[in-house]
Structure formats: structure tokens, C-alpha cells
């Protein structure tokens, strides 16, 4: 298996295969010895003689569409999202960031939770920073502000509705 991995500012070609019962890893573009051990989500990766312990898991909602899969990795007390791109498939992952229509702004939930209050109505003109709705998550209420000045074009959630992270909440028509 060969993938292009993007992690922070790094972009690397990684190949993984089974060889005589062991998993072998090669790192193109780096003249480095790679050794791996561990199983499942807890891995040990030795690079240039230095061992790094890593906890790795698939990012929720990363479904492999367009040949891209994302993983979150906790390593040495820091965390990074790794995007693995299948070089054999077109549609590079960067294309995933679909552009929204000119002049409209989509406000999405950054966390899962439950809508407790909708503060605006369709057609309302709002200033940047004005509260649009309130989402409760883990016992805290969070007011979701308008990222810029505009007119509320549509509201997709009602009070009491549960929302997933990334769910579309409100569409603003920017002015």
C-alpha cells in the first residue's frame, strides 16, 4: 500500500507491506530507518533511532471519499490530523474543501450537541458576532455567533434538535 500522508506541514510518501510475516514501512524522500511495533491504536514508531509512542484513530466522518482518509494521532503530548491520500485516485483531498456559493456563508456546528434556542429568524439582518442560536453540549451552553454581517437565508435546526459535529445550522447571505 502506498499513500501520500499530509501531517501538519509535512507531506510524505509512505509504503506499507507485509514481508515475511512482519509489517515493513518505507519512507520515500527521507534517508531514515523506520521500525514499528505495537498493535491497534497504540503504536511505537522508531525514526532515526528515536522512539515515538503514538495513539492513532480514524477521524469521525472521514469516510474515504475521494480517496482521502483522516486519522488523528497523539504523539509526545501533541496531536495532529494525518490525511492519507490514495495516489492512484484522482480528486486530491484538498478538493474536499468544497467552496460555498459566492456571497453565502454556511455556519456549521463545531461540536455535537443539542440546539436549545434559536435567536434569529429567516430574513433577520445580523451584525458580525451577533448570536444566531445556542447549542448545549456537555452541560455548557454555547452561543453560535454570525461570522460576518449578513441576512439570515435559512435556519436548518429547531430547538430540541440534536446536531452532529459539522452539521449545517444556518446559511447567511453576506452583504
Amino acid at each position: 500500500m502506498k499513500v501520500i500522508a499530509q501531517a501538519g506541514a509535512q507531506e510524505l510518501v509512505i509504503e506499507v507491506a507485509r514481508r515475511s510475516g512482519h509489517t515493513a514501512v518505507s519512507l520515500e524522500g527521507r534517508d531514515s530507518t523506520v521500525e514499528v511495533s505495537g498493535r491497534g491504536s497504540l503504536r511505537s514508531v522508531t525514526l532515526g533511532g528515536r522512539t515515538h509512542e503514538a495513539a492513532v484513530w480514524p477521524v469521525a466522518g472521514s469516510d474515504g471519499a475521494r480517496g482521502v482518509r483522516s486519522y488523528d494521532v497523539l504523539v509526545a503530548g501533541r496531536v495532529v490530523t494525518v490525511r492519507l491520500v490514495d495516489p492512484l485516485r484522482q480528486g486530491n483531498g484538498r478538493a474536499e474543501e468544497a467552496a460555498t456559493a459566492e456571497g453565502t456563508v454556511e455556519i456549521r456546528a463545531v461540536m455535537p450537541g443539542k440546539v436549545t434556542t434559536v435567536l434569529k429568524a429567516v430574513g433577520d439582518e445580523v451584525e458580525a458576532g451577533a448570536g444566531l442560536l445556542v447549542i448545549e453540549a456537555m452541560k455548557m451552553e454555547n452561543e453560535i455567533p454570525a461570522p460576518r454581517k449578513g441576512t439570515v437565508a435559512s435556519i436548518l435546526k429547531a430547538p430540541g434538535e440534536a446536531v452532529e459535529a459539522g452539521a449545517l445550522l444556518v446559511v447567511l447571505e453576506a452583504r
Binding site: 506499507v16 507491506a17 531514515s32 521500525e35
Partner: protein, 508 residues
């Protein structure tokens, strides 16, 4: 004599009480919601009793269900932990009326200190210095606006019925006032079932320093020194320590005496905490009494050697305290980091989900209070705190070093947590020097959270770990022993090369 305790809580604090019960030869029973059935505290208790579905309002906050669970399972006492029903005097009263011992302060004392406005009046009368604020709980936003105009902005809106930062808002101008009152009221209602709020002058450049107290039914009351809790994000404590760099032995004695004044004024019994703000001149100002065990009680346990939950149970059993004021002499330094299922790199947004793998830190000076097990689902229904990581050292420097080591050992897969934030914090010079006040974290947050992403070799190792997982989840990874021609230069993995030639140049 208490023989069987119903623990009306969940997570690490339920487990903490289970352990205290075991130490005392008392049978622990854990009341649990449906989703917590397989949780560690339930498994380690003698029995679990289901009290309702996941939402706290239908289970952990359902007084009738909790009391019925205690009666049905043959308990003679109830420990409420913190949060949920722990500071609800009606619950405490209902427990006692059902013929059970409530392990906490008497309802009357809880009442006296539980309403923040009443408490301020009481403390002021008892001679404890209070922060200028509204003398009565406000029915509407107008009284708050009037107070703000009188005292000057910034002001702080607080829930009259609760603590822990819930329903608390800073207001810096009249324009912000009414939305803030609305939100605080709504949060207070959600958290404490009471939407009463009041206002105080916001003191700036101050520290949050609190005193742990415990009193028995025989007139003995002891304070166990202070906890430094200034490291807060939006009024939520993130890191606590004991002792505080800002507290001299003389100030410790004075604050301890003030805290005991508060205990006596309210007829307090059992464990409690008197919270103060400490201004730049070292003057303590009474904030509130938390009529329960605090989340951060273990830092006090680590420096005093006193088991606070054991002491709570003994006091509730009617026994006198097993230690006196002169037995308490804090030794060494303890720090607690609250590990939350929140992503510090994205504004601390909640990260519920399944913990797929877990490696808890250990070693000298390290204590982890957690109910987390690999496979657990972190639910949106409850608080985001998944673990309390504690480090003790002979001095503050040793405690910080051990905390840093433990944070780096702590591995959690499946959800993002605040571990990277704490790693960054422990490395900060301002933290090492004790240069912070209660606004420091909020002020420094953009900088504190700008370096949480792995880079360099860490990012490369992360990329490899991700590729390995992707490989194993693909068909290719499952089939073993298949030759992989044409791939080079292969490093043989799963087996280290013998030492010679294994280590690359430039290594030393």
C-alpha cells in the same frame, strides 16, 4: 454505623467513593443511568442500581429515583459526590426524611451557604470580608444593571444556587449585560434547576485560592490548607495545586481562620470548601462556600495525607474527626490537571466518542483518578472530564516535572483531549514562576493553543502510525507473509536489527 452506601454519581468520583467504602469495610452500591451500566464504578461496586435513561434529568438528578434505589438496595446512607444533587438541600432533606444518612452538610447549612446571596450576607455579618455585590438575588436584569452602574464595570454574573463556573458570565459593558443575564439564567436553570442569578464587582489581577475545611458533629472543625485554582478557562478550573505560591504561612493561618468562621456561622458539618479571591496585596475576599467534596480535593489529600472521602463518611457516621488542627502540616507539593474530552486546538469544543485504546500514566508521585476504560463511550450527556491526573513532588519543581512526564505517558485513542494543552502549560515559564491570575489562561489562550500540533519527527511518526492503521484496515494488511516485490528501500520492521549498524550516524 454506616454499612452500605448508595453512590449517587458517576465517573471518577463514583469510583473514588467506591474505593473509600472498600477501605472502610462498607458495601458500595452505585446508582447508574442506562448508559453507565458497564462503567468501572458499577463493576467495582457490590451492586449497581439502574435509575433511568442517560439524560441526567431522568437519572442522576431524579431525587425520587435515587432515594428509591438506596432503599431498595438496602443502603443506609447516600454519597452524592459533586455536581448533580450534591448541593441540593431539598435532596439532602429528602434523604434524611427517608431514614438514610446524607454524607454531606446538613440541609440547613447547605441552605445557608448554597444561596450565594444569603451566604455573602451571613459571612459579612460573621466578619469575613466579602466582594462588593448585590445584596439580594435579583429577580430581573434591571437590578443588576443598576448595581453595575453603581459599582462600575466589569461585573460578574453568577448563579445564586450553584458553583463550578456554570451560569457565570463576565460583563464589561452595558451592551453585553442583558444577553449575558439571559444565558447565565438559562445555564443556571439547566445545571441547578434554579434560574436565580446575582452580580458582583469583578476584581482583576486576583487569584482564586480556596480553603478545605471539615467539621464533625462534636464541634470540631479543621482546615486543611489552601488550594490554588487560578488556572481557569472561562471560570472552569483546569489546573489546581496545593499549596499556593501566593500564600505565606501567616496568610494560610489567617485564611484558615476565616474559613472556620464561615463554617461556624453556617452551622456547617462534613467536608466543604471556602473560596476566596486573593488580591494583589494578599487580601482574601470571600467568594462562596462549596458545600460538597470538590473535584480538586486530591491535591489536598496528597499534601496532608488525609483521606477526605473517608473523613466524610466517618463524620457522617457521627464519629469525631480522627485528626486535629495541629496534626495538619502540608508536606511537598501537589498539582492536578483536569483531562477533558475537549479539543484545545479548536476552542475546547467537546469531543464525545469511543475511547478505543488507553494507557494510563503511573510511577512515583503520580495518581490518576479516572473511571475510564478502553472501549468506553464518552457521552454528550455528562461533563467532559474523563480523568484527573495528579502529581506530587517534594517541591513544586519536582511536581511539575512528574506531571509533565505523566502527561507524556498518557495515551488516549479515539477522542481528542486536553492533554496537549496541559503539556504546553507545564512547559511555560509563567507557570513555572507562578506568574498568573484567574484571567491568565483566557488572556494567554491564543498563544497557549498555537503550538499543540505535532511537527517534525513527531508528525512523521504520526503519519506512519496512521498509514499502519490504514494498511491493517485494508485487505492487504490482513494477509500475512505475502511478498511485496518492487518496494524499496524496505526497513525490516517488527524486529529490530541487531545493534551494529542499527543506529544511524549523527546519533549521540
Amino acid at each position: 454505623m454506616i454499612r452500605r452506601i448508595l453512590i449517587a454519581n458517576r465517573g471518577e468520583i463514583a469510583l473514588r467513593v467506591v474505593r473509600a467504602c472498600r477501605d472502610l469495610g462498607i458495601s458500595p452500591v452505585v446508582a447508574h443511568s442506562d448508559v453507565d451500566r458497564d462503567s468501572l464504578p458499577v463493576r467495582l461496586a457490590d451492586a449497581g442500581v439502574a435509575i433511568g435513561p442517560a439524560p441526567a434529568r431522568s437519572s442522576y438528578l431524579d431525587r425520587q429515583a435515587v432515594i428509591a434505589a438506596a432503599k431498595t438496595s438496602g443502603c443506609d446512607a447516600v454519597h452524592p459526590g459533586y455536581g448533580f444533587l450534591s448541593e441540593n438541600p431539598e435532596f439532602a432533606q429528602a434523604v434524611e426524611r427517608a431514614g438514610l444518612v446524607f454524607i454531606g452538610p446538613p440541609a440547613s447549612a447547605m441552605h445557608a451557604v448554597g444561596d450565594k446571596v444569603e451566604a455573602r450576607r451571613l459571612m459579612s455579618k460573621a466578619g469575613v470580608p466579602i466582594i462588593p455585590g448585590l445584596e439580594e438575588r435579583s429577580a430581573d436584569g434591571e437590578a443588576i444593571a443598576a448595581f453595575a452602574r453603581r459599582a462600575g464595570y466589569p461585573i460578574l454574573i453568577k448563579a445564586a444556587a450553584g458553583g463550578g463556573g456554570k451560569g457565570m458570565r463576565v460583563v464589561r459593558s452595558e451592551a453585553e449585560l442583558q444577553p449575558a443575564v439571559r444565558l447565565a439564567r438559562s445555564e443556571a436553570k439547566g445545571a441547578f434547576g434554579d434560574d436565580g442569578v446575582y452580580a458582583e464587582k469583578l476584581l482583576e489581577g486576583v487569584r482564586h485560592v480556596e480553603i478545605q475545611v471539615i467539621a464533625d458533629a462534636h464541634g470540631n472543625a479543621v482546615h486543611l490548607g489552601e488550594r490554588e485554582c487560578s488556572l481557569q478557562r472561562r471560570h472552569q478550573k483546569l489546573v489546581e495545586e496545593a499549596p499556593s505560591l501566593a500564600v505565606t504561612p501567616d496568610l494560610r493561618r489567617r485564611m484558615g481562620e476565616l474559613a472556620l468562621l464561615a463554617v461556624r456561622a453556617s452551622g456547617y458539618r462534613n467536608a466543604g470548601t471556602v473560596e476566596f479571591l486573593l488580591d494583589r496585596e494578599g487580601n482574601p475576599w470571600f467568594m462562596e462556600v462549596n458545600a460538597r467534596l470538590q473535584v480538586e480535593h486530591p491535591v489536598t489529600e496528597l499534601v496532608t495525607g488525609i483521606d477526605l472521602v473517608r473523613a466524610q463518611i466517618e463524620v457522617a457516621s457521627g464519629r469525631p474527626l480522627s485528626f486535629r488542627q495541629e496534626d495538619i502540616s502540608p508536606c511537598g507539593w501537589a498539582i492536578e490537571c483536569r483531562i477533558l474530552a475537549e479539543d484545545p486546538a479548536s476552542g475546547f469544543h467537546p469531543c464525545p466518542g469511543r475511547v478505543t485504546a488507553l494507557r494510563l500514566p503511573a510511577g512515583p508521585g503520580v495518581r490518576v483518578d479516572t473511571a475510564l476504560q478502553a472501549g468506553d463511550e464518552i457521552s454528550l450527556h455528562y461533563d467532559a472530564m474523563i480523568a484527573k491526573l495528579l502529581a506530587w513532588g517534594r517541591d513544586r519543581d519536582e511536581a511539575i516535572r512528574r506531571m509533565r512526564r505523566a502527561l507524556l505517558e498518557f495515551q488516549v485513542a479515539g477522542i481528542r483531549t486536553t492533554i496537549p494543552f496541559h503539556v504546553e502549560l507545564m512547559g511555560r515559564e509563567d507557570f513555572a514562576a507562578g506568574r498568573f491570575d484567574i484571567a491568565w489562561v483566557d488572556r494567554t489562550l491564543p498563544d497557549l493553543t498555537s503550538k499543540l500540533e505535532a511537527d517534525g519527527d513527531g508528525a512523521v511518526a504520526a503519519a506512519i502510525a496512521a498509514a499502519l492503521m490504514a494498511f491493517e484496515r485494508s485487505g492487504a494488511g490482513a494477509a500475512a507473509g505475502r511478498p511485496a516485490p518492487g518496494l524499496s528501500p524496505w526497513a525490516e520492521a517488527g524486529r529490530r536489527a541487531q545493534m551494529s549498524g542499527r543506529l544511524p550516524k549523527g546519533w549521540a
